[in-house]
Amino acid sequence: MTEPGKVRLSIDGKEIETSAKATVLDAAKQAGIHIPTLCADDQLAPYAGCRLCIVEIEKMRGLPPSCATNVAEGMVVRTNTPELHRVRKMLMEMLLSDHPYDCLACAKNLHCELQKMAEEFGIRERKLRHLTRESVLDESNAFYSRDMTKCVLCAKCVRACKEINGVTAIDLSGRGFNSIVQPFGDGPISESVCESCGECVERCPTAALSIKKQVWPDKEVSTICPYCGTGCGILLGIKDGKIVGVRGDKNNPVSRGQLCVKGRFGAFEFIGHPARLKKPLLKKNGEFVEASWPEALDYMAEKLKPYIGADRFAALSSAKCTNEENYLMQKFARAVMKTNNIDHCARLCHASTVAGLADSFGSGAMTNSIDEFRDAELILVTGSNTTENHPIIGYRIREALRKGAKLIVFDPRETWLANQAWLWCRQKPGTDVAWINGLIRIILKEGLENKKFISERTEGFEDLKKTVDKYTPEYVSKISGVPEEQLFQAARAYATAGKSSILYSMGITQHSHGTDNVQSLANLAMVCGQIGRAATGVNPLRGQNNVQGACDLGALPDVFPGYQKVADEALRKKFEDAWGVPLSSHPGLTIVEMLNAAADGKIKALYIMGENPLLSDPDLHHVEQGLKALDFLVVQDIFLTETAQLADLVLPSACFAEKEGTFTNTERRVQLLNKALDPPGEAKPDWEIICELADRLGYPMSYPDPAEIMEEARKLTPQYHGISHSRLKGGCDLCWPCPNQDHPGARILHQDRFTRGKGKFTAIEHLGPAELPDKQYPFTLITGRILYHFHTGTMTRKSAGLNQIVPGPYAELNPVDAKKMKVKNGDQLRVASRRGEIKVAARVTEVVNIGELFIPFHFYEGAANVLTNPALDPVAKIPEFKVCAVKVEKAAGEK
């Protein structure tokens, strides 16, 4: 008997049991039987165009294509008969008849599927006379070339662009023999909506699409992408000790081989970049001189010793570093330097999530997993430009949309998702509590709330109900600028969909009331019971590859690893016992507080690992003052960043490709890194540097490898108890919480009960941003990231291709404002706030609203954070990056 959902069939005499949903091609592949094909792809819908995968099936007419024929019980399939061979050979002859014969000079020579297929069929001569396909070579894209004379019209590129990425930059035009893959209007691909994700290039069987700097690697090492929090699997291609390229890792459960432009084309050039730091640098008389490791570390130990136990030392850990390194860094601060002054850039992105969701639910992380977005019936996206900043998560949303999900976007900017949304509400920046309260009020007034969920699983509902009562549609519309009708539509759709998922990012968190925003979203989800089930929940998308892990492992001033409060005596005792030293009980300073304290002379020594506050933090002039006021600044990084240039000592570290360890992605999934290369020069992994330093400060740290560090960390971190390197190496796919070594991990949080017991409603009043536009500074500035660069550009701006696409800073300006100011696209603007002034090029676009300005913060030469307001959220201490008041004028006489 076959299992339910399975069928048995015979292929070439081999009995196979497979899923009833499989195609004959899938079944054959599973049984190790080769069927030739050029157009079939695991991740794309069947196309059945090349016809090479035809088979003979008993009781079926003709020669059905195996890629588009479903298996059936008792089916008898033959894949390799003389007739099939004859037909396939004829097909190959047809395909070859219009293919240029320049194999020796071709980028895909020896890697071309058409070439392999010709060999398979033993084709040695061209039987049909030559028909030519005419096309112009398109070299306009920064990363790949398009030569449509080599196209076999398998349409994998077109389908990948549509089915995986979703931008549909290319399509087939013309028909029959004159079919050709083109961007809209047949212009250069660089002028199309192409996002250069390379899903097409990856799939092209010939050199119709080829990578410009293609070097075929000798071996590939599977590891995790170093950019955003999605945690995509990448294969680093290595040849002669150098990384020569990146491919998606199909075995990675998050990305399944899919990548964005940064991951595929921008994640390796920086690794072997000549500007990498190779030796420790000591500043002597204002100049850096190279030093040996013992010299550098002895010096550092000497300088830090006086600050032990005095809370005048602070450390910045890094969301770019591994879990193990973050664990060690916080241990270093706490056990060696006896201070809780440890923080990292999560403070700047999702501190309000960590604080807010922990208070509302008991866990400050995504409540559901990434793949679940595909199954949502409604997705409410707010404050997240997902398709640019978490592109692979963007793919999942696009998948959901194709399956018919409703998308509601609340965003001041017309992002790609806003443009595609069922409902796009353009709220004024900083009015989130108001619209969320407004939705809750409508839901309650219309009786759409989930009464059972509220009564059984939550507390504090009456207070919430009282508070939201004044947020009438009229009142909310006045505050937020969102039309009343849209508020009704959004509220009804969100509440009534079977599975509604909230997805947000820094548009929600980076406010002086970020925690309020986050908790308001938590309120909304709980009122409707849209949490604790598959494809629902409240889902913050974390910005950095390991920002989740850095928080989890305690690189925060108020908590030990696992969010265990330093102020809690019992918990502190646990760590004192484990680490064998007494520990400080009062929470330390957060990033912005540290830099303020430095400016005030209260912090004297700062140890920065893998962060660049001189570009990433608000009010950069003030940051610079703080850094310059320090007695001793150490920066440990892979490049001489803007911050490192101010340091007294610079330590060269290994990048992600040069070390082992784990990253935790935004859905709490812990993934292993694999070392692909040795670090350049004398650079060392961060964990080794910390250990050697600790030794010198009288607290020996000795670990043979990161796996051992994790062994120590996981025992102290309840969420990570069951997560070890050996389990991960064994193929376990683990999302925390994972309480023991047999536990499979958890995709969905708060299923039967909230982590804190009952979900907590928080009654919140709308307060508004700390700084609003006025006569003097009439514009609202929004800052953020873009698809083609990452964070402070330390890594992406080493990529020639990414720089070709976006070479420098710019400000998005609405055409209405541009017209008033007589500004044209590309004109230089002078943008000033109360804190400073920068010059950037104007990009005139309706993406931003009238009176608003958007500037990405990646660029040192037009650093948006010179302008931003360091006003802090009172709970999470996150600065208000998303709203500040600026004035804009055309920079006279400059282009």
């Binding site: 059945a48 165009g49 007419r61 003709g62 219009d98 028909l131 399509d171 087939l172 013309g174 028909r175």
Partner: protein, 430 residues
């Protein structure tokens, strides 16, 4: 016109035949009123029992096709295929030009039978005049309350939309038609799922030819025996034939099915032009196998007789080919058409059709070798049944048959190093 019974073309000669008043005067919309008083399933059964077969080419029983629509609550659609584009076929055009209300009444009945509330008439882009006539007729029907809400007082509403194609023959294939209707490139869909499961906008859909639907009102109004009075047992009723080629009176004729082909050519259509002899007939549109003159002698115009002769009734487009026609040139022209109209998805069609056209041209120009005839045949064999949709089959048909049935002529071109005739066609058409 002839003395044969008129079902489809009854109103064609009348003044203002396309107007609703003319149609009403001839008992128009009575069938729809009657149908809406019947159980929907009963309507399908009547059409099935009348033996009405699809007039687009495939000849599938229309009533049965309607019963494939799933019994669920999804919205459902009737698509009327008015993308008449096969060389030689021009019968639907005249239904739409001269009696659009007969089609609209058929749509009402079919939609009632399938409980569809929306119907699209997908009309060939070049049919600008028929499209305008249809739109006017729909407007008239709406004004009279035959379309819209509460038709004949029933809780049934129906909207009919005219959708003009953009000039691709492939969109006459039902799944390409659906893709095109959705605003996409007209490529065929892989089946299964078939349109009744997943058609327009992924909803249950039936696609019927114009003539098929236009035949329905008579069946409902007059009853099965009245319909079965015409035609043969297995091919009941009448059919429109569009005749073209070397014939004295080309045009559209309504005949009872089963009418002898030679009588049609020699009597009804006025005989061969300029007294030349008959060489061959393509009896059902260019995608049906060609018959040599001697094969035509005892053939009747119905599904079974033509199938027995090795061809098909197809769309009823009879192309009459006179002696003195170069079959190589004709093949080149036909194959060029299919190469031009292939969507390009399947290798055999995309590559095979232009290859065949090129070889036919080469043979005609005397630049070919004997071996090219075999390459032609093997190309045809590799196209037939090897693709997603039947366009390649249609293209392959002449590629296979012409060299087989007129091998002598093909070989003569090669021996002669060119066309043995001074001009490829015996008569110049204007």
């Amino acid at each position: 016109m002839n003395e044969f019974p008129k079902i489809l073309s009854a109103n064609w000669g009348k003044p203002n035949s396309a107007g609703i008043e003319t149609y009403l005067a001839s008992g128009g919309y009575e069938a729809a009123r009657k149908a809406l008083g019947m159980e929907p399933a009963k309507v399908s059964q009547e059409v099935l029992d009348a033996g009405l077969r699809g007039r687009g080419g495939a000849g599938f029983p229309a009533g049965r096709k309607w019963t494939f629509m799933p019994k669920d609550n999804r919205p459902r659609y009737l698509c009327v295929n008015a993308d008449e584009g096969e060389p030689g076929t021009f019968k639907d055009r005249d239904i739409m030009r001269f009696d659009p209300h007969m089609l609209i009444e058929g749509i009402i009945i079919a939609c009632w039978a399938m409980q569809a509330n929306n119907s699209y008439i997908y009309i060939r882009g070049e049919f600008e005049e028929p499209a305008k006539i249809l739109e006017k007729a729909i407007q008239e029907a709406n004004q009279k309350g035959f379309l819209g809400g509460k038709i004949f007082g029933k809780d049934f509403n129906l909207q009919v939309w005219v959708h003009r194609g953009a000039g691709a023959y492939i969109c006459g294939e039902e799944t390409s038609l659906i893709e095109s209707l959705e605003g996409k490139r007209g490529n065929p869909r892989i089946r299964p799922p078939f349109p009744p499961q997943k058609g327009v906008f992924d909803q249950p859909t039936t696609v019927n030819n114009v003539e098929t639907i236009a035949s329905v009102p008579f069946i409902i109004r007059e009853g099965i025996p009245a319909y079965r009075k015409f035609g043969t047992e297995k091919s009941p009723g009448t059919k429109l034939f569009s005749v073209s080629g070397h014939i004295n009176k080309p045009g559209v004729y309504e005949l009872p099915l089963g009418y002898p082909l030679m009588n049609f050519i020699n009597e009804v259509a006025g005989g061969m032009i300029a007294g030349i002899k008959l060489k061959a007939v393509i009896p059902g549109g260019s995608s049906t196998p060609v018959l040599r003159a001697e094969e035509c002698q005892n053939v009747n115009l119905d599904y079974e007789s033509l199938a027995a002769a090795g061809s098909m009734l197809g769309s009823g487009a009879v192309t009459v080919i006179g002696e003195g026609t170069c079959m190589v040139k004709l093949l080149e022209i036909l194959t060029h058409f299919y190469a031009h109209e292939s969507c390009g998805q399947c290798t055999p069609c995309r590559e095979g059709a232009p290859w065949a056209a090129q070889i036919a041209k080469r043979i005609h120009e005397g630049k070919a070798e004997l071996n090219d005839i075999d390459v032609l045949s093997s190309l045809g064999a590799n196209m037939m049944g090897r693709t997603i949709c039947p366009l390649a089959d249609a293209a392959a048909c002449p590629i296979i048959d012409f060299p087989k049935k007129f091998r002598e002529e093909f070989e003569a071109h090669i021996r002669n190093k060119g066309c043995p005739q001074a001009k490829p066609f015996p008569v110049e058409f204007k």
